[in-house]
């Protein structure tokens, strides 16, 4: 009997043969695959330049085969606009940043890139804590969530979570904002369509585009990967709903 073998799934070609050591159950590698697939499907790998922030995204462009850099903590949007403008708008430029990098230390950069209508895409991976440093309070930590610097759970005295896709809606220079949780097949498909839309708006020179992607952080949440996914469904998704919050329109 002849067995017909068909390759139905493989890693994206752009993904290099090594990662840079994410923890078990982390969703950063999903984001790496997502970015690679979108770039391949849109045939943008040759004109893409990425900028990673400081934190669990720092080595992102060491592990995928497109031109890229990392930079000072929080500064990725300004670096991205430096690259974009240096080359007179030619490349597709995007950032990969964690929530602490993007919303806390880098919040001012995001706001001003949005105000300038910089034609860049910001991808923020939100895991509700500072992953690299061991799980401290982040700008996205949920009320009541225990972190190493909120040992009794986050309370109002430590402030409230930042929702950047919603916050940026009112900015004139912003073309697209969305949030997805790519840990289910449906969420992954949503994330992919949002990222494609964001890149397309950038190519259309419509303004700043912003995609938030939720990620688990099992070691710092002190959970197994499966418990972490359950916690995301129970706690994170109600706080950080998926969807498109602003879209200037155009083909998707």
């Amino acid at each position: 009997m002849t067995v017909k073998k068909e390759l139905v799934y493989t890693k994206p070609e752009l993904k290099l043969g090594y990662g840079w050591g994410h923890c078990p159950g982390c969703h950063h590698p999903i984001v790496e695959k997502l970015v690679c697939e979108v770039l391949e499907e849109m045939d943008l790998a040759g004109k893409a330049v990425g900028v990673a922030g400081v934190g669990c995204s720092f080595g992102f462009f060491a592990s995928i085969n497109i031109d890229g850099a990392n930079c000072a903590h929080g500064a990725a949007p300004a670096v991205a606009t430096g690259i974009k403008r240096a080359l007179y708008g030619k490349p597709l430029v995007f950032t990969i940043q964690g929530d602490g990098d993007c919303a806390s230390i880098g919040g001012g950069y995001v706001l001003n890139a949005a105000a300038r209508g910089d034609n860049i895409t910001i991808i923020m991976v939100n895991n509700a804590n500072y992953g690299t440093t061991g799980g401290q309070l982040a700008p996205t930590t949920i009320m009541g969530q225990v972190t190493s610097t909120t040992p009794r759970g986050r309370n109002a005295g430590q402030g409230y979570p930042i929702h950047l896709p919603e916050l940026l809606v009112g900015m004139q220079g912003v073309a697209f904002t969305a949030r997805a949780a790519p840990f289910t097949p449906a969420g992954y498909r949503r994330a992919k369509s949002y990222l494609k839309a964001a890149f397309q708006r950038q190519l259309d020179e419509a303004g700043l585009t912003f995609v938030e992607l939720l990620s688990a952080c099992p070691p710092n949440w002190h959970m197994t990967p499966l418990e972490a996914i359950q916690w995301m469904e129970d706690k994170m998704l109600p706080e950080y709903p998926e969807g498109i919050f602003k879209d200037s329109g155009g083909e998707q």
């Binding site: 090594y18 840079w20 050591g21 790998a45 040759g46 004109k47 893409a48 330049v49 900028v51 400081v54 720092f58 080595g59 462009f61 060491a62 995928i64 085969n65 497109i66 031109d67 890229g68 850099a69 990392n70 930079c71 000072a72 500064a75 300004a78 670096v79 991205a80 606009t81 430096g82 690259i83 974009k84 403008r85 240096a86 080359l87 007179y88 030619k90 490349p91 597709l92 001012g108 950069y109 001003n112 300038r116």
Partner: protein, 364 residues
Amino acid sequence: MPERILVQGNEAIGWGAINAGCRHFFGYPITPQNEITEFFARELTEIGGVFVQSESEAASVAMLYGAAAAGVRAITSTSGAGWGLMQEGMSQLANAELPCVIVNMQRGGPGQGTTRHAQMDYLSTTRGGGQGGYKTIVLAPASVQECHDIIQLAFHLADKYRNPVVVLGDGILGQMAEPLEKNTMEFDPLPEKDWTIRGMGERDAGTHNFISCGQGGVIPVPPYTSYGAFLRRLEEKYRAMSADEVRYETYRNEDAQLLLVAYGSTARVCQEAVDMAHAEGISAGLLRPISLWPFPADVIREKATSGTEFLVVEDSLGQMVDDVRFAVEGKSQVHFLGILDRHLPTDGGMILPDRVLEEIKKVS
């Protein structure tokens, strides 16, 4: 005949950058360097360049990082508190080995200080003011023409060593007007920038370029195989700069028993004081460091060994004077005249030639 115009030092900085082929400026307003920012806003748009007024000096230097990573010649300028804000970015530029030029037209400090001239950022500039012990070449012009010329040299050295270069001026130099001959200077050929990130489609390459401001752990940062290999490369680069890029100028220093050491606008004051001293029969000369790092220590040590004494004049509480003392190694006397010797105690006060002459007479 080159075009000859009457301009301020700040504007000469701008013309120097344009004549170096720089078409990208990122900056934030701060006195006394606003004419630089305004120059680029005006002129770069005329010639199809890129001007961005950033939201902060931290952002200026981050944009510079991006533009340099993309392989273009880019510049920013600042002063005082803005220089403080740039320090983290300076360190990241040094680590990522990104060539670019940063201008600091010094004002009075510390803190918000004053909006007027001073020379109080010598140490934070020559010592790598940000984290982690890096080095950058620091060039100090002393005339409007030199502001223009030194920017071109700065871009050349930045590209030669793949390292940021700082041009350290001051409020007086930025504001004063002198004739300027605009020209494009010739330099030796530079290495090809084969490391830039412009999108892989821009070159024949099967693999990506990756620019990183950090090493270690499991992140491969070509061409370095380890943090140690990276540090070795930095050490070699800094050693080459120290050996090959010392620049200084001397004035009437033949047989001078007393050598003044001063940079920037203060060197101009000292030049006049040296002439006044000679008119009174006093043998004094001037040594003007043009590169503040690497510092012209060898020539100072040589002079010290043969018995020359030194009078350091700088518009601060004493910063460069430390470098002179290190160079002299206790072999001779080092005297100091500083910001407390200005003719007025206000922020508009200056160290004037007659005060320098008085000191020359006192120590001679």
